[in-house]
Symmetry: C2
Subunit: 372 residues, 2 copies
């Protein structure tokens, strides 16, 4: 039975030139034949669980996932068109599913920021960097901030809103580099505490608040890696909220992971326990929700840069494992790398995108020239 299944999966994997026990960095090194049953009955969830259990290894996991996503999965689609993102989303979210089912996922959120500080580097930015012309993670994050600052045409004295401000590094950069006043809103008390502690000398404020309850008027609004948590039912509300908070000559920038196809669902277990309403928007969903609210001035797609970012996070994570391992289990180590590197491979395969979208309230007067 095992050998029949093994032959079946070997044939499937050959579409991506992936061999079982082959000698290339992307080949599977099999340790337990139970892998095939697990994948047969639990799909990509089983693939992730089996990895965590140590039933197989892949030296270059991101390349394995790149090949799986770009060459193997599409050949099982009809009509020659790519409709694989829902599958991959399952792969990705299952990691978090597993993470929780092993009771290791929530743990690291509770024990502090050592993991993130180790992994993210000095920028503390947990979103895709912009690697154009730079070759380090920190530089790519700064490059990303500058790209956003230039796209938003920030000028001294402007009032700026950061929706989902994370650890505040973007706010700090913009206030220092462009002389703007930034209000950040977050639903995380820990992030707010972090910002108040580290950036008390800057003209930035932070509120623990649902962004929809924010009041006031702003010249510029941006969100970096927050829209993924909005959910399709609220895309329009997100747009209308930004519209309400912007001045007439205001600009909004949306930095979000994009899905190749429009979905209205996510993994039910994740929905309930991890990220309520978390899902990746397609460009058509974004454009549709912006319609009659904003004029879309520019759309940049640099999804490939997330591949580079995730590889850098993985490098930091493994380099810091010796001191992190006191707080995290070995199974967490495998789970976390699986998460980072499966996403990396998917971005390299262009199965997910990174969209930066600039929107204006009434259409900029004159041409909107975007930097690149």
């Amino acid at each position: 039975m095992h050998s029949l299944l093994r032959n079946k999966y070997q044939n499937i994997l050959l579409k991506g030139d992936i061999k079982i026990n082959g000698s290339r960095t992307w080949d599977i090194q099999l340790h337990n034949e139970k892998l095939w049953n697990r994948v047969l009955f639990r799909g990509s969830l089983g693939l992730g669980e089996a990895y965590m259990h140590g039933w197989y290894d892949v030296e270059d996991l991101s390349e394995f996932f790149y090949r799986l996503t770009r060459f193997v999965l599409p050949s099982y689609q009809d009509g020659g068109f790519r409709q694989i993102s829902t599958k991959l989303a399952t792969v990705l979210f299952n990691v978090q599913n597993i993470k929780n089912s092993f009771k290791v996922g929530r743990r690291h959120y509770d024990i502090g920021n050592d993991l993130y500080q180790s992994m993210l580097g000095s920028s503390m930015a947990y979103t895709c960097g912009y690697w154009k012309g730079v070759d380090s993670l920190d530089a790519a994050q700064i490059r990303k901030f500058r790209l956003i600052g230039e796209k938003l045409k920030l000028k001294p004295g402007m009032r700026v809103l950061d929706i989902g401000c994370g650890f505040g590094s973007a706010m700090a950069f913009f206030s220092k580099e462009y002389g703007v006043e930034v209000l950040g809103v977050t639903v995380s008390k820990k992030q707010a505490q972090y910002i108040r502690k580290y950036y008390q000398n800057l003209p930035i404020r932070v509120k623990v608040q649902d962004y929809r309850l924010t009041e006031g008027k702003f010249d510029r609004i941006y969100s970096i890696g927050m829209f993924e948590h909005v959910g399709y039912k609220n895309y329009k509300t997100y747009m209308q909220t930004c519209w309400r908070l912007l001045t007439n000559d205001g600009l909004a920038l949306l930095h979000t992971i994009g899905n190749n196809i429009s979905v209205k669902h996510t993994n039910a277990w994740v929905e309930k326990y991890i990220f309520p309403n978390s899902m990746l928007p397609s460009l058509s969903q974004i454009a549709c929700s912006a319609e009659s609210v904003f004029i879309i001035e520019d759309v940049q797609n640099f999804g490939y840069d997330y591949y580079q970012t995730l590889l850098a996070w993985d490098k930091n994570f493994t380099a810091n494992w010796s001191h992190l391992s006191a707080n995290y289990s070995d199974i967490f180590y495998r789970m976390w790398r699986y998460y980072l590197l499966s996403c990396a491979g998917a971005f390299k395969a262009r199965d997910m995108q990174l969209f930066q979208i600039v929107m204006s309230v009434n259409g900029v007067e004159g041409r909107y020239d975007s930097p690149r």
Copy 2:
């Protein structure tokens, strides 16, 4: 009755600081009080007809339309959101409606290319130029061609398809500047004759053919100002046709006027007599039709440049009127300027957009860096 209506419209127009018989270049100079009834009963159609009849004049017609579109029309919308494009589309298409109803519109298509040659200049490009860093129409058209060539990453020997190739100036530019072989498809025999006559020494071919019947494989496909004639029912077919004709590492560029909102209709009379299935696509309609077919790599919006382009066309048209007037009537003169300048004002008001969209078959490997 006239004075009541006049007062009503004066109040409406004040939202855009437009005065009846005022002294600014954008004010209406009224010659016939019947204008108000015409507008009351025939809307924007009446506004255009009245202009053609000479019932009013505006020194700067584009500024009048800019103010009308940006400030007057939005104040009659609910909810504070802009939904005015259908109204403006009516304004614009009514011009063509009128054109035909006066039996002067079709005439100029039949009598040869003197109008277009006079108006368009040496580029013979009847689409929006790109005015970044240049200050003449000819330079803006060349700048646009170069922008497209760079976005498509053209390299010597590539096979390129131009869908709706017009008078062939883009094909000629790309074959000369980038050493590519271009096939142009057009539904106009006259355009094909023009191309065969003027560009016989270049590696370009032209076919009089529906693009959906084109066969072969191409490294690159572009269309400049053709998608407006596709119609919403065929957007998906357009995308799938491009997909079928492209190599696996192919790129497609779509250059089209964009609507701010999604519509599935156009003026019925225009539909029947002028441009069957002509309508302006919204970005969400474009993104939706590209979904599961292409990865959208980049979207640029330079709608404002159409304002500049249309002003330049109007300038050429009026400068050449002395010799054109032998073939065209005085009412054609007013109609044509109304068409050019009402569109110019609408683009300046950002009520219509100009989208250049770059799409790839499988996602470019690595970052897609777009020029600007």
